[in-house]
Amino acid sequence: MHVSDGMLPPGFCAGGYAGSAALAWLSVTRAKKVYGNIERMVPRASVMAAAFFVVSWIHVPFPVVSVHPLLVGLMGALLGWMAFPAVMIALFFQAVMFGHGGFTTLGVNSVTMGGAALVSMAVYRAIGRGSGGKREFTAGLAAGFTGVVSAAAATTAVLLLGLPSYVDPEAERAAVSTMVLCHVPLAVVEGLFTASVMKFLAAVSPEMVEGNG
């Protein structure tokens, strides 16, 4: 799902940095308004980002291959507006520690995956709000599923838009559809994973779930 260095023209990379800076500014500004005490959110988002990073080391057995959870849905549901900077920092560490993604494409990857986390946040809030924790499973399922599908669609679109203009548009459209369809089973698994985690957290540590989603 990470776009690596060298895959995109510099204009895209610069646009990605501009877009991620704008989204990071929007996220922090909104977080200040929503949570009031942003200082409290800094250690919370950072330590949770580290935990998400560790959880993404867990490999899901999937027929033929093994994949790791993306967790953008879970991050959106738990961290709310702070999910975007947390995703950005997690991507930076993935590039530094494992060479996943890249430095020139860090902005683009942040926009596609951090944007997906914000979409998941919106979905989670729309379904889970006012349910008093009764709809955690459904909201988590929808957030996890939407996170993967939107990240896959955005990444594929960016990759194909970055290709030279004389690539057959029909083939481009077919490739986008195929890539998104390939990610649907993964999105279902991630949705179930997110839903189970959210249900567990709602039962064990409700203060984590309340106020963020």
Partner: protein, 248 residues
């Protein structure tokens, strides 16, 4: 900084506040190249940097594997689905322009990923926060990055301990997909609960140390040294050599 890299190496001495923008500029220039003659020049420049840095080639190969595989897959797509003059390759017509673009993509991915690897392996972590401040990265992002870096290993150790405990209680090492969805979310959620509690303690400690008392941060105003100017100059000249002929 990676193990095995000499602390006295030329690229290690290069201040991160100068090195990061210079190498990023060079990486962007490499990503900009499209002429066939640069398909060799860019990897050659990246190769010289790896030799000067003295990087671990086994680790570099490991980092290059996935991006190169993706570049080759994208290249195949371009070969078969691009316009331009078609050539017959057995049962399928392929595009000459597409093949050229595919070769360019593989060359760019190799060069840019290699330069990123050189940048990371020759930058000591200790001076990174100060360099990031000098680069005008917002304080909130620096604080978050430092805290995340500090706790990744701690939480990773927590996870390993939880996994060992689970297996000692009779849990299987390899789980079926069904069992996976039953067991692992609980492990992950347990880890998140611990991290949440830890973050509350971290916040209290940060407050006691004066975090948030003042927005003023110390920004070192160290001027560039000769080595910084020289190496940044080399990187800028190389970038210009790659970009200017492309624009003309």
């Amino acid at each position: 900084m990676a193990e095995g890299i000499s602390r006295k190496g030329l690229l290690v001495k290069w201040d991160a506040a100068w090195k990061v923008p210079s190498i990023l500029l060079l990486m962007m220039s490499m990503a900009f190249t499209g002429k066939p003659e640069y398909f060799v020049l860019s990897p050659f420049i990246a190769g010289i940097f790896t030799v000067v840095a003295g990087v671990n080639y086994a680790r570099l190969f490991k980092v290059l594997k996935a991006p190169l595989a993706l570049a080759v897959a994208m290249g195949c797509f371009m070969v078969f689905f691009s316009g331009g003059e078609p050539y017959s390759a057995g049962f399928q017509a392929v595009s000459g322009d597409g093949a050229l673009q595919a070769a360019g993509m593989v060359s760019r991915v190799f060069s840019v990923v290699t330069m990123g690897f050189v940048m990371v392996t020759t930058t000591p972590a200790a001076g990174l926060p100060a360099s990031m401040r000098r680069l005008r990265v917002p304080d909130i992002m620096i604080d978050m990055a430092m805290l995340t870096g500090r706790y990744v290993m701690v939480i990773g150790e927590d996870y390993r301990r939880m996994e060992v405990a689970r297996r000692l209680r009779g849990g299987r090492r390899i789980l079926s997909p069904g069992a996976f969805l039953e067991v692992i979310p609980q492990v992950a959620a347990g880890l998140l609960v611990r991290s949440f509690e830890r973050s509350e303690n971290v916040f209290r400690v940060m407050k006691l140390r004066g975090y948030g008392a003042s927005n003023e941060r110390v920004r070192e105003t160290v001027g560039p040294r000769r080595v910084d100017l020289m190496l940044s100059g080399v990187a800028i000249l190389l970038s210009a050599a790659l970009v200017v002929p492309e624009l003309l």
